[in-house]
Symmetry: D2
Subunit: 287 residues, 4 copies
């Protein structure tokens, strides 16, 4: 393996990648000279090329851009947005304010899209053998037996109907009508929504995570990668809020108005133990 | 100020923003219903709307997207890219790998574009009274008197000519010819490049930071905000590399091949001081 | 719930905590005036008080400090350390270099201690009914049936014997002899090590994660909290390396020597598709 | 430089450090075998050894630990603390919650201690030639001529008197009386406080940053490194709050009570521009 290889070759192999090739004066992304891409490829198409390795059609790129644009912001009550705004008042660069914010787009604050796409994907795989309504029913049976809470991609704590979802599905149908995508994931999502409504006795509508998952599924993105797409999308709102906050004069912005405090719920004032009181306040060998 | 205001009003005022308005079932970005934006506005146009508060023309959005796409990656020897790749092998989410990476796009690894645009801006302001060559000469005089190193936006440690820059200027000229932008910042950048070459006796070519700064200047973005635009751009390469790495089996990836160590340059092996040897190994009261 | 409560009360309740109480001129940690703690309580005892809510004995605090000090560093081939060193060369503050590094102490680069303590804890619970060797055997049976790889807390990719572990166990035994801790977790760890050796035919020694887990278990820290203790510990090495690097002149430090590149393994040079070549390079509607 | 050197040597030299030496079975910190340090050296002494390269006396380590323990927390209205609490509710690891928080200990939220120590250091240097009151007066003259706001290390937005500062100075005096430190920085801080009071007509008391800066100065830490010491200290409060929050059931915790929103101050509802309305809503070529 490293017999005839020089140390430099071993080191350079350690950092191998199939994404970008460089030498002095030359930058190639996925085999294309970068100067041939500039001005010919949209930003969403560049994102696709970097992540997938091949150029999409203009229509595929447009649909990707539509999904990315839909999830950019949900306001300062979203932890990622609040964190960006507080961070920029602390004397750190805008990249660091963005980093602290992006860092919290975790399983609870950003994972639903990935879970929704996995859910649809399970159904899509089953479609190879059964009809859609059967595949949906089977997957929902499994979900309700094993998990609790909303089916991923459905319901919203704030919106009775998430205003972004119906429009995203309508746009997906338009692209399907033009043959850009098949419409299969839109069918799956709508079938899940119907079946859940039938079982629960009320509609639990598709939300932004479920709707963007439809588009990412139509476009062939694997579920874990959609977590990263959500990060690219939400980074826009994070930047916008950090930027707006940076133009104001607040310093060290906390979560509540400056003249407020917080409620203290802990041990009341007590004296520091006197000498000889040295044992652990807790049980034996600490516990 | 807070006389007749309820506590809730005071709290909600503490988190005021002009970017997004929400109520159940309603999301508006900069005054537009989000469902009216979806499918009608490209991702770069959405970015523009979020940051600037108004919709750009399709041409302006396209030019913004071109600049964003040009700076997405510079390979695993860029610290941001290497950090993303190492981070994803440590058992953290892809958002956290991206955050650790974006966090280092600081003054040295991401600040040049902002400095270049400020530099051009100084010249643009002076153009109100003097000719371009005079404004350029005056600004360069000041730079060479006060600072050292390359004029921001020019030169590159790796590329004799950065392959992205000439193409970005050419694209800018095309958009200027169509009246989308004025071409003034392209003129400024080219005049600076010429004058520096005249003074130094050799060409120090425009680089990616200087070229994207031209576009951001043409489009009216203030210099500090372009730092955030670079973050959005580089986030794409960061995601691509984190994703590629995540599909491999390495765990806890360090910077060098696993069988290598590092060179130790410190104090040689020494015995722990015996009892009575208790004084500080350093001078008096520590220094 | 919020009937008679003012908005301010509701807001302050939203940020309630039992850790710290403040009013102008007053700071109390867990009920103690801070000025009574300063100078009377060691740093490890302060850490204990903040996390556990009660003061430890001096001996308990000392043992905590010993565990914290043992895991501070493992050199620049640890991703957290390399990231700290690269980050500080990028023009960000030392706190941001530390943040990017601490951020990767995830399940793979920092989770082993928590898993080891959970493992011991399973055995400790079983001890209420069976002898130690039976509890150990049962837990190992379950582990080898359900998982692969090393038993958490044992083995090391680099060290045949982790030099930190035997010393940490010896110190634990000293504290047990003085009645500060029971020694039960040390017994468990040693029994696991013996039984694994018996089953595998060779010793797979206790490592730093398993050894610090013994101490944290003896001191009564719950497993998930020990992940945070590891962060406090490793933050010291992270700071030391960032500081050392900051005193050198490198800028934008990548993972390999500056004159090296990386191996490119991707698509070879190819021409940008001509007009009319517009379809997706991938299958149908994207795949 | 790299003529006779192998690639491996070049790579290992790229990651050289004087902090830690390792080979299989061996870990040495600053020349000491780690197993000789464990159990003999307190956690603050380990921190000192890692940062300074030499072992401190037990007294020096104790004073360092006192300073580190004093600044661990300032409650949920500190952005770092609020961020830690929100982050842990987003489904990320406790290390990531800590990272997002530590990341904002920047110039405004953590830089005052470094500035205070630099200020004292300027005076300390001048003491080589003039009396203390002259050196203090000169430095204050410069400060009031060039800057605005509080002298670094003095004043507090919340506390009329920061309860931590007098106690830290008293402890410093105790250590000076025992000959562990000189007391010179305590003298400087007290002289600055007096002279500022004389000039302003009211006392602006020493705060936590100014008081810990006294101790770090007495112990010989350079100002930029004290920023990192503050990070180690505040990491304790950050962990305590993240841990406390993690034991509660909130998910995606925002800054305000869940039933509140934020005040919208932006453009009122407006219709999406009709076809033909396509021009930029802003001035000409973007502004």
């Amino acid at each position: 393996m490293s017999e005839r290889k020089t140390g430099r070759e071993r080191g350079e192999e350690w950092w191998q990648t199939g994404i970008i090739e460089m030498s002095p004066g030359i930058i190639r992304l996925r085999g294309y000279e970068i100067q041939e891409l500039i001005g010919r490829v949209s930003f969403p198409a560049t994102i696709w090329l970097m992540l997938r390795g091949e150029l999409p059609s203009e229509e595929q790129a447009a649909l990707l851009g539509i999904a990315l644009g839909a999830a950019v912001d949900h306001g300062p009550q979203a932890p990622s947005i609040a964190i960006a705004r507080m961070a920029i008042t602390c004397g750190v660069g805008i990249n660091s304010a963005m980093a602290s914010a992006v860092n919290v787009l975790g399983d609870v604050h950003g994972g639903a899209g990935e879970q929704a796409l996995s859910f649809y994907g399970d159904i899509a795989v089953a479609l190879e053998g059964v009809a859609l309504d059967q595949a949906v029913a089977a997957r929902l049976d499994r979900f309700f037996a094993e998990e609790k809470g909303y089916v991923p991609g459905f319901g919203h704590r704030f919106h009775p109907v998430d205003p972004r979802a119906p429009r995203l599905i309508a746009v997906t149908r338009e692209f399907a009508a033009r043959g850009v995508v098949s419409g299969r994931f839109a069918d799956i999502a709508e079938a899940v929504e119907s079946e859940v409504a039938r079982r629960k006795g009320k509609k639990i509508p598709l939300n932004i995570d479920g709707a963007t998952a439809v588009i990412y599924g139509e476009l062939g993105f694997p579920p874990p990668l959609t977590r990263g797409l959500f990060v690219l999308s939400r980074s826009v709102g994070i930047l916008a809020h950090a930027w707006e906050q940076s133009q104001q004069s607040e310093r060290n912005k906390g979560p509540l108005p400056r003249e407020w405090l917080w409620a203290y719920t802990g041990t009341p004032l007590r004296p520091f133990p006197a000498e000889g009181d040295e044992g652990p306040a807790e049980g034996d060998e600490g516990k």
